[in-house]
């Protein structure tokens, strides 16, 4: 792993790698998202119980999955940053965090908008929504810690430590909230029934999950490029970049 990663420890190589990967991610995002949204909104059959309101799951479920996924990738980057002292991994932590926070916010908003017609209230203390809200707090914590530091080198490491602490706590939080929920509310709330999902709904959902993942990838790459440029802006290779473009 070390041997494979090593060339990308150099900032300019990492920058180039981002540039190479970016178009692929962008194309996948655009194609999957356009097809996924049109399919989900217009062509997928309506749910026999929830009617057309269920179409919200085509963005709610992907954003909920990606909010967790982005947090775990952020934590992995943080571990790499602290164990192997890779500066670029620190930058990746900071590049992912805002994207993850946005996806988490989407999961919350769509969850509320789906909940209003289903439960009659914008917000209920459902286990998933509550976990999602706490996840948003964790993201915001990482971001505000990073921005509070003057010295960005220390900021990156502090944010990485917090990300790791968060990811250790996340399963505990999730489990405790789930347990708390069953204790206090029982089974009065119908959750998304994901067990018996019809293929006509499953495929557009998968497509949307891929689209969200690719979107998170795309924006993370753009932000990672920004962070690398920002940190390396006095280096000659950044100057050469300007002359070329």
């Amino acid at each position: 792993m070390w041997k494979w990663l090593h060339p990308y420890a150099k900032a300019d190589r990492a920058y180039q790698l981002c540039n190479t990967l970016l178009p692929y991610f962008a194309v996948v995002t655009v194609v999957c998202m356009v097809v996924g949204w049109v399919w989900g909104l217009a062509y997928a059959p309506a749910d026999y119980q929830q009617k057309d309101s269920y179409r919200i799951i085509f963005i709610h479920v992907p954003s909920a999955i990606l909010s967790m996924g982005a947090y775990s990738s952020m934590a992995i980057a943080a571990v790499v940053a602290l164990v192997w002292q890779l500066r670029n991994a620190e930058l990746a932590v900071i590049a992912i965090a805002p994207v993850g926070a946005c996806v988490t916010a989407i999961a919350l908003i769509t969850g509320a908008a789906w909940g209003k017609p289903m439960w009659g209230a914008w917000w209920v203390w459902d286990a998933r929504l509550t976990s999602e809200l706490i996840l948003l707090f964790l993201y915001l914590g990482v971001l505000s810690l990073y921005h509070a530091f003057e010295d960005k080198k220390a900021a990156g490491r502090a944010a990485s430590i917090l990300a790791i602490v968060g990811v250790i706590n996340l399963p505990i939080i999730h489990f405790s909230v789930e347990w708390w929920n069953t204790l206090h509310q029982g089974a009065t709330i119908t959750k998304f029934d994901t067990k018996a999902i019809d293929p006509s709904m499953f495929w557009p959902l998968m497509l949307n999950i891929v689209a969200f993942a690719a979107f998170v990838g795309t924006v993370t790459l753009i932000r990672l490029k920004n962070e690398i440029l920002q940190r390396e802006k006095h280096r000659p290779w950044v100057r050469q970049l300007l002359n070329r473009g």
């Binding site: 810690l145 509070a148 405790s176």
Partner: protein
């Protein structure tokens, strides 16, 4: 100059210093307790004094108040050492930093957590808790407040170098307190129904063990970042 290598000496020295300092400025011990008391007084005034309602809400009130008053003292745990340079001396000592940190957190708990546990019977009277629930409250506080100190110290370590670290620290730490809050209050709730609450206590205990082992490592790396 002969050096001996005694972890016990280091541990007691660090612990003793913090306790000594706290006893010299007694406000450090008294103020969080007063804060705790005032918060608890506010609740009956806000929601009404019916004994039944208060008893029902007491676990939640006590725990939220405990959480907030721990936060008050947390800001101080590394701040003085950071500003006078003692933290650098502790890092540059030949002892492992996590051990030093463990001693400091323990001292912090003895200053803020322990008095809270000892005074719970008084607070329980104010909130109309019966004796069964009182026992449960004391046990959960005994297991839970050290956890609060450990988790909080991570946040304190990360923010000690910042000018306005106090409020940021609360933002970082409070979400991490949620599991402690849930299990502790549920243990007390269960006890009021005369049911067995050893399960919740076991989970709290397990979390405490994990925190004792892993939090000092996280805290020391956080402190190293803050010092750099």
């Amino acid at each position: 100059m002969q050096r001996q290598h005694s972890y016990l000496q280091l541990f007691s020295a660090v612990c003793k210093k913090d306790l000594q300092l706290a006893f010299r400025q007694r406000a450090e011990i008294v103020n969080p307790l007063l804060f705790f008391l005032i918060v608890i007084t506010l609740f009956p005034l806000a929601i009404g004094p019916e004994p039944g309602l208060l008893a029902r809400m007491a676990p939640g009130i006590i725990w939220v108040a405990a959480l907030l008053s721990t936060m008050l003292g947390l800001d101080k745990i590394f701040r003085d050492d950071f500003h006078d340079g003692s933290l650098e001396q502790l890092i540059a000592s030949s002892y492992p930093l996590p051990l030093t940190v463990l001693a400091k957190v323990l001292a912090h708990w003895m200053i803020t957590g322990l008095p809270l546990v000892l005074l719970t019977p008084v607070f329980a009277l104010l909130l109309n808790l019966d004796s069964q629930a009182l026992v449960a409250t004391v046990i959960t506080l005994l297991l839970g407040t050290p956890l609060l100190s450990f988790i909080g110290a991570i946040g304190a370590g990360l923010t000690v170098g910042l000018q306005k670290g106090g409020i940021l620290m609360s933002l970082l730490v409070l979400p991490l307190y949620i599991p402690v809050l849930i299990f502790a209050t549920s243990a007390i709730d269960t006890s009021t129904m005369s049911l067995d609450y050893s399960g919740q206590l076991a989970i709290l205990g397990a979390m405490l063990v994990v925190a004792i082992i892993s939090a000092p490592i996280a805290i020391s790396s956080a402190l190293k970042v803050s010092v750099s």
